[in-house]
């Protein structure tokens, strides 16, 4: 996984981003940068726009009707909000993992091979290698080797979530978006996913939405705190947790939030 981006230009650059659902604003003038290989954790109360922000980064937002997006967003070489951007290539480069594991109703193998096949990989040796590599990367290989022809539904919830991560990794993305990836899992499975995220650090730029503040503290390099569609504060994880600049952030982190 060699990344050619140099350290100085950020991998993700968001400038004056605003989003409306109909007349209701969901994000207002958000500005932030993330360097390649960093993990940004997004925290904030329910409904503050965290998922909305993630879905802008791979344009999944436009699947909702009546959405308006303004501002500029750059991810790698993609000018995300440009009308002429190749959305399939953008989404290939910006993988997404959802709150509820959503493997396709197919075999484990076909799940992981789905993306590569979409992008034209036909050779079965190549596919096998890609599937194996992706499953290894997602720390699932040891549990599923020899069972690749089984239905994905036979896996446990945590395994399914790692399968979804493997599926996203199989198309060789640059960025991974994770929307509360452990929220629907038991603590042991959640811990495994967390461990995996830490392992994948530096290979991928990641944005993770989480309601679990300890999790944010454990995995991330940067933390962004959103409230009512605004980015209240963003900073280095350790500083955010020990000495937040904003009062609202401090109240949220200490649970004195109304």
């Amino acid at each position: 996984m060699t990344r050619t981006s140099d350290e100085t230009t950020p991998d993700i650059e968001v400038h004056q981003l605003s989003v409306w659902y109909g007349q209701t604003p969901a994000l207002r003038n958000v500005n932030l940068n993330i360097s390649a290989g960093q993990i940004l954790a997004i925290i904030g109360p329910s409904g503050c726009g965290k998922s909305t922000f993630l879905r802008v980064l791979n344009r999944m937002i436009e699947r909702f009707s009546d959405v308006r997006v303004e501002g500029t967003v750059r991810v790698g070489s993609f000018n995300v909000l440009d009308d002429h951007v190749d959305v399939t290539q953008l989404r290939r480069a910006v993988g997404m993992v959802f709150q509820h594991p959503n493997p396709f109703p197919m075999t484990i193998f076909d799940n992981v091979a789905y993306g590569p096949r979409i992008f034209g990989m036909r050779s079965s040796t190549q596919l096998r290698k890609t599937v194996e590599d992706s499953l290894k990367q997602a720390a699932l290989w040891d549990e599923v080797r020899g069972k690749l022809r089984r239905g994905a539904g036979t896996l446990s919830g945590g395994q399914q979530q790692r399968l979804c991560i493997a599926r996203a990794l199989a198309v060789n993305p640059r960025v991974l978006l994770l929307d509360e990836p452990t929220a629907s899992l038991d603590p042991v499975s959640a811990a495994k996913i967390e461990e995996l995220i830490v392992q994948l650090k530096s290979q991928y730029t990641m944005v993770i939405v989480t309601h679990n503040l300890q999790q944010a503290a454990r995995v991330s390099d940067l933390v962004a705190f959103f409230e009512q569609g605004r980015l209240i504060e963003m900073g280095n994880t350790q500083e955010m947790f020990t000495a937040p600049r904003e009062k609202r952030t401090e109240e949220f982190l200490t649970g004195r939030f109304d």
């Binding site: 699947r63 396709f104 789905y114 979409i118």
Partner: protein
């Protein structure tokens, strides 16, 4: 409380009545079938092709073949259109357009079958006549009419089948960079397949039982082989021979046997349909 009790009694009574009627109909058919079989056997009338009930010849094979051919062909004809309409109604049209579309399909479902038959008579039969040089009456015309008749039902059932596919599959696919088309062919339709097959089977059951619309365009007699000659199905022949074989006439029992064969075919379809309903992807 009181109303509940009344309602309870009403439902029970209605159910009991239904059961009695159903059982007596089934009983009459089974009884006639039994008398028929004990005289003429079970397999030989099914496999024979000579039909002259007044002379004691009861070959049902042409009608069974007619029923199966017309029905299967009708479903084959209706399938592409139904699939296209169901995709249109579930994935392409949005909001009120989708609602109006479904309502329109409902209207077509409720058109009485005699109107479809009439349309077949004035449009399809002349059309087949011109293209083939035959009379135009036959299994091909019947299949087209029946195909068009089951199209709306088939479409609505397929539309429901597609709507049952969880949006999370679609998001997963699109999120990887798949286009809507790729997602449709590789995720949505395969995931909906068991229910689509169920929809097709319901359409088959519907087609197998249809009488009037088919009778109007199929020609109503045993003609030559092939789709372009007059033919008959189990249901249309039942209708044709009913006046000639009133109860008491020797040979009347064959009508019960034909009804019985229809019931067996239907039961097989229902059974298949239930088997598929329990298909689960592990």
């Amino acid at each position: 409380m009181k109303i509940d009790k009344v309602m309870d009694r009403v439902t029970h009574t209605v159910f009991a009545l239904f059961l009695v009627v159903w059982l007596s109909v089934a009983g009459i058919i089974v009884w006639g079938t039994w008398r028929f079989i004990s005289h003429y056997g079970f397999l030989s009338p099914i496999l024979s092709s000579r039909w002259n009930p007044l002379a004691g010849q009861f070959g049902l094979w042409p009608f069974i073949l007619g029923s199966l051919t017309v029905t299967v062909l009708a479903v084959v004809i209706a399938f592409p259109g139904s699939l296209a309409l169901s995709v249109l109604g579930s994935r392409i049209l949005q909001g009120i357009w989708r609602r109006y579309f479904v309502r329109l399909l409902m209207v077509f479902v409720s058109v009485p079958s005699v109107l479809y038959g009439w349309w077949g008579l004035i449009v399809i039969v002349p059309w087949v006549r011109r293209l083939s040089g035959t009379s135009g009456y036959g299994m091909l015309s019947a299949s087209v009419v029946l195909g068009l008749m089951i199209l709306p039902t088939f479409s609505i059932l397929s539309l429901e089948a597609i709507r049952q596919v969880p949006e999370s599959y679609v998001e997963g696919s699109v999120g990887l960079g798949a286009t809507e088309d790729q997602t449709l062919w590789r995720i949505i339709l395969p995931a909906a397949r068991p229910r689509l097959v169920q929809a097709a089977l319901i359409a088959v059951a519907r087609g197998l039982g249809e009488t009037i619309a088919v009778q109007m365009v199929i020609g109503g007699q045993i003609g030559g082989p092939g789709l372009l000659h007059p033919a008959a199905t189990l249901t249309t022949q039942l209708l044709t021979d009913l006046p000639f074989l009133p109860p008491g006439v020797p040979g009347h029992d064959v009508l019960d046997f034909m009804a019985f064969d229809l019931m067996v075919l239907m039961t097989i379809i229902v059974w298949l349909q239930m088997r598929i309903g329990s298909w689960r992807y592990e």
